[in-house]
């Protein structure tokens, strides 16, 4: 995967020396690259004057970050309590079966990454699945099938 270091530098620039904003900076880099490339973490440690070990510890402590490249579509299945009592866990199992990956993993063709998250804050509409930022509410296995099909056929076309 090609990493645009100039682009990363421009993201880091406004954060220079501001150690307290490490998490926000990592989020911005991840939003751009869709994961945290090692090269970027080295740049971050220099720009923020932080030991590389601290940058790595933060990048691995928080769930939001991935050190591995992720797929083109990010599927987040909510496992908050409200979604759990309405069958969220079974949706997660179905996604694992259908995509052949576990939460946190990416399909071999880099089309889908599956994440299990603890509450997305739309508990009233659970179970909730979010694909590329689009919220799907009151999902059941039939609805999940049709959603997945939509993204899969798109992938085949493109």
């Amino acid at each position: 995967m090609n990493i645009d270091l100039a682009k990363i530098d421009s993201i880091i620039e406004p954060y220079k020396g501001r150690q307290g904003l490490l998490i926000s900076l990592l989020q911005d880099i991840q939003a751009e690259c869709n994961y945290l490339p090692e090269e970027a973490l080295v740049e971050v440690s220099q720009a923020l004057e932080l030991p590389l070990s601290q940058v790595f510890s933060v990048a691995t402590f928080f769930k939001a970050f991935s050190l591995e490249p992720r797929g083109r579509h990010l599927i987040m299945v909510c496992l908050g309590t409200a979604c759990h009592v309405r069958g969220g866990e079974r949706l997660a199992q179905k996604l694992e079966r259908d995509l052949g990956i576990k939460p946190g993993e990416t399909t071999q063709d880099f089309e889908f990454t599956l994440e299990a998250v603890n509450c997305l804050g739309c508990c009233a509409l659970g179970p909730v699945v979010v694909i590329d930022g689009k919220y799907e509410s009151k999902v059941d296995s039939a609805k999940l099938d049709s959603i997945l099909k939509r993204y899969q056929s798109e992938a085949n076309k493109g």
């Binding site: 998490i23 989020q27 923020l48 769930k63 496992l79 009592v85 508990c123 509410s137 039939a142």
Partner: protein, 625 residues
Amino acid sequence: MMPEKVLGKRINSPSELEALEQSIVAKRDPDKPCVVLCAGTGCRAAGAEEVVDAFREEIKQQGLGDKVEVKSTGCHGFCERGPLVVLRPKKIFYQQITKEDIPEIVSESLVNDNIVERLLYADPATGEKIVYEDDVPFYKKQTRILLGANGEIDPTEIDDYIAIGGYSTLAKALFQMSPEEIIEEVKQSGLRGRGGAGFPTYRKWESCRHARGAIKYVICNADEGDPGAYQDRSLLEGNPHSVLEGMIIGAYAIGSHEGYIYVRNEYPLAVRHIGIAIEQAIEYGLLGENILGSGFDFGVSINRGGGAFVCGESTALMASLEGKIGEPRAKYIHTVEKGLWDRPSNLNNVKTWASVPLIINKGAKWYSQMGTEGTKGTMIFSLVGKVNNTGLIEVPMGTTLREIIYDIGGGIPGGKKFKAVQTGGPSGGCIPEELLHLPVDFDELTKAGSMMGSGGMIVMDEDTCMVDIARYFLTFLEEESCGKCVPCREGIKRMGQILTGITQGKGKEGDIEILEDLAGVLRDGSLCTLGTTAANPILTTIRHFRDEYEAHIKEKRCPAAVCQELIQYSIIEEKCPGCGLCVKACPTQAITLVAKKQPVILDQSKCIKCGACYDVCKLGAVAKR
């Protein structure tokens, strides 16, 4: 008269603010028809954005462009029925609308003065159609002092907030009150921190004010990690200026000039709205240097969290604000003395900050009239799970659980039986039917073995397995434990193994006692509240639902038919017409179609108990037991 264009101009005194408020109000006709659309995250998930665009387009097409206003607001609370629309000034309430409904709403209710019957909310108890928002039972029984403005203002327009008196309380605080008077007013109001622990707010403020150090911080905790709670998100999304105003007043009372808002990155809309609010407040001189010409300086920045539950704990949050991993520390020295960067720091929850302007504006006496002896004011709950009217509700402290679940929540859907209500998130507990008469406040919920937490209230019916719920919370906490202290890291893991075993039919005599033992170790030995309260979900479920544990352990049976290893699916032959829907749905080809109008056959050896057949069968021909 004020000049026409005011945005972009600093407000330099309380009288200029007042003049601005008057000029905004004067320009607005309260009788002008206004389509108010809920565009909170919940309604957006139900398609609200499409609906907003369609309304704007349709209004233009029907030639009402300058006669009708369209306002997209934050969360109105009744998420179950979204997308919601309210037609002002009459406050006609339409629910579950789609973009196809819009031409009819515009021509019937805006061009003419008719009601579109089919979009009204029908009271499930009586079947009666309800026309006006205020008459809907879900709203009628609430006291929405914090949430109410969500339905009135566009959160991205500071003028909307100023038009309803926004920031006038800040002017009052800065010009008519001393910091000590503000703290006294907060003390008299009885306000307790809304983050969960319920610590008296004034005491924190007072200690931080008196702490040594020239630089002090105020922090807004918007790292709403409790699964099943989203009230902080809704306040930040729907009324961000109220939180900012509270923070500025608090900073003035404490003597702080720098503030932080730590918000979950999983809440993109909240991050965006609070960001816009800060920019607009700076532009107006309500944030930054010399606020309103008072000489008081205060700035706020936003930090986005990294998705760690433990960061809701104050010391972990502060570590994370310093760019470190979110590990808590022991609080021998309180954060009000040495917190962020080792300086005095005052941290409060979103709801606490948003309560401050109300208290300073309307007075401690007004506020303390609401609530119970020990807990004043109102509380926002997210009423979710197996309840008819899911959504965000705000009630005076002391309202009983029964009133919340049945009168406001409309009871349990599908004729099912209530089993328990879980409050307080992973630190809280499950409350059974016998205790539904409990008035909700910090102390009563703690006495029942649960806690208030940040206000999540998850209703569970007879189809919920209480052992599975306990296992769910432990698995959650095992993942979220930061790993710093041994009792939490190892204890939760061990308890999780035992509970998982029980749900898989591997439970044995004595397991319950070991769980209770370990719970004591966690409570006494953990470093922060994540660990000390981790056993609450287990202890309360053991206390109130011991029979379910015993059924799992002794009879290897899950009474609610949830635990996969203990249940079996089967076909009820009399009910099965052989339609084949389940055959298509089955991922392991465990079901075979025999012939038309013949019941299907389920091969137990191939069945992975995923429940796909059960979900898809509309005839109830799949049994689960």
